[in-house]
Symmetry: C2
Subunit: 236 residues, 2 copies
DNA sequence: CGTCTGGTTGATACGACTCAAATTTGGTGG
DNA sequence: CCACCAAATTTGAGTCGTATCAACCAGACG
């Protein structure tokens, strides 16, 4: 089984077996984080770069009055904090959605990796830019789309991202976030997410139960979401 | 008058006079773009990196049915498309809000600049990460805040960003975007932005007329917006 | 078996949108 | 300098999407 991070990077620039070995070595030792816990302490200035090896996490920001927005979902192969590698402090929190397995990479090892593997360095830089593009699309999602369009968009995005790391096929994938999680990612209430999901089910677009998502009609779901995959830059 | 881009970068990492000269040379020749026009063709694969020398622009994404979301405001010193430098295609558009003066930097010159000025290279990398943080905060803004909180947050952010490039002081700055622009940045209708601005004025928080913004009570405006400046990473 | 988390349902309230029109502002040309 | 026009702002009335509040239900787990 090839590593999720390698698959992720390979999706954009060819990663050689040699490169892949380099990645595999750094992510060999993984630590387990229980659900709802933070793999990275908030506000802390971390000394390691964290890679999600298995499981789902999210990046979130909270307002002083308790409101909470999930600003990104982190899937296997995602880096938690390339940013803090350079910036002084974490401006948001990270929480595990499922049980998580995380690899901690020391800055020195990271530097060595990018120095010895220029393709990886470039792929990481791309990764960063693509994350930015995803964040922009989320801005559009929250600013312009209605509840059902938003949820539809989120589901399609997550399905496609899972597929590029080999965690989805046949329009179907594990889908651990609760309706509460979806709500705080979509800027809706959990109640409304619930009704919206029912609507999508009723219209024969999706199946979603027991933490498993199946997209029954990809074409119509994408149309509803006005989903344009170009922002994911999935071509090689 | 020192250059906006230099000021911007200097806000995060000390830029030497030598570095500043390098920047000044690349941005000496500027091109003028009239309002509402695009300094960079949409969909095109640009051969140049564009820097806003003077004026305001915005980054936007449109949906097939015509809805349009401004995902970022570009102020003097901002780079339009460091991203496309690496990614294959532009996944969004750029439009001038005011008359714009733009410097086009050839990739080779860009490479030379970062090679000869490591501080600049690092500062540019930071810039990228901060833009990402800003985009995350916009996600929170659209997902969690009410209309008046959103507008308040937007105004404070823009004021602070202008201040770091020397374009604002005494809680006052030029403010060219129309209520329509604010609406499509805040995910609201222009009508509602109008009423929201009136509310902010009525409460003695701001003055805004003839394209000039004055923040009358910064403390209360920031409280209303639940504004936490840490995401701008303004410290050095 | 009781407890807890997540999902579901119903009734009601409200923030923001829509549509439509009036008014003001700013730019342009005579 | 004024007349004109288009763009931007303002106002009002009515509607709708989503939030709120409050139960209730199902399954997981200790």
């Amino acid at each position: 089984m090839t590593h999720a991070l390698a698959q992720r990077l390979d999706a954009f620039a060819r990663i050689s077996p040699y490169d892949e070995t380099g990645i595999a070595q750094l992510t060999r030792v993984a630590r387990v984080v229980p659900p709802r816990r933070a793999p990275v302490g908030e506000g802390e200035r971390p000394n390691f770069v964290h890679v999600i090896v298995d499981g789902w996490a999210c990046r979130y920001k909270s307002l002083p009055d308790g409101r909470r927005q999930i600003v990104a979902f982190l899937l296997p192969g995602d880096l938690c904090d390339l940013n803090v590698y350079i910036l002084k402090q974490m401006d948001h929190g990270i929480a595990a959605i499922t049980r998580l397995s995380v690899a901690d990479i020391a800055p020195d090892d990271m530097d060595a990796l990018t120095a010895n593997h220029p393709r990886i360095a470039q792929a990481l830089w791309r990764e960063t830019l693509i994350n930015q593009a995803v964040q922009r699309e989320w801005t559009v999602n929250l600013g312009q789309r209605t509840a059902s369009e938003r949820i539809a968009h989120l589901l399609v995005e997550l399905y496609l991202r899972l597929r590029t790391v080999g965690l989805a096929r046949n329009e179907s994938c594990d889908f651990p976030p609760t309706q509460n999680d979806l709500a705080s990612a979509a800027g809706l209430t959990a109640v409304h997410v619930n009704r919206t999901l029912q609507e999508l089910r009723r219209d024969g677009l999706i199946e979603l139960e027991r933490r498993r998502l199946t997209i029954l009609d990809m074409r119509r779901l994408m149309d509803l979401a006005m989903f344009n995959p170009n922002y994911l830059h999935l071509h090689r």
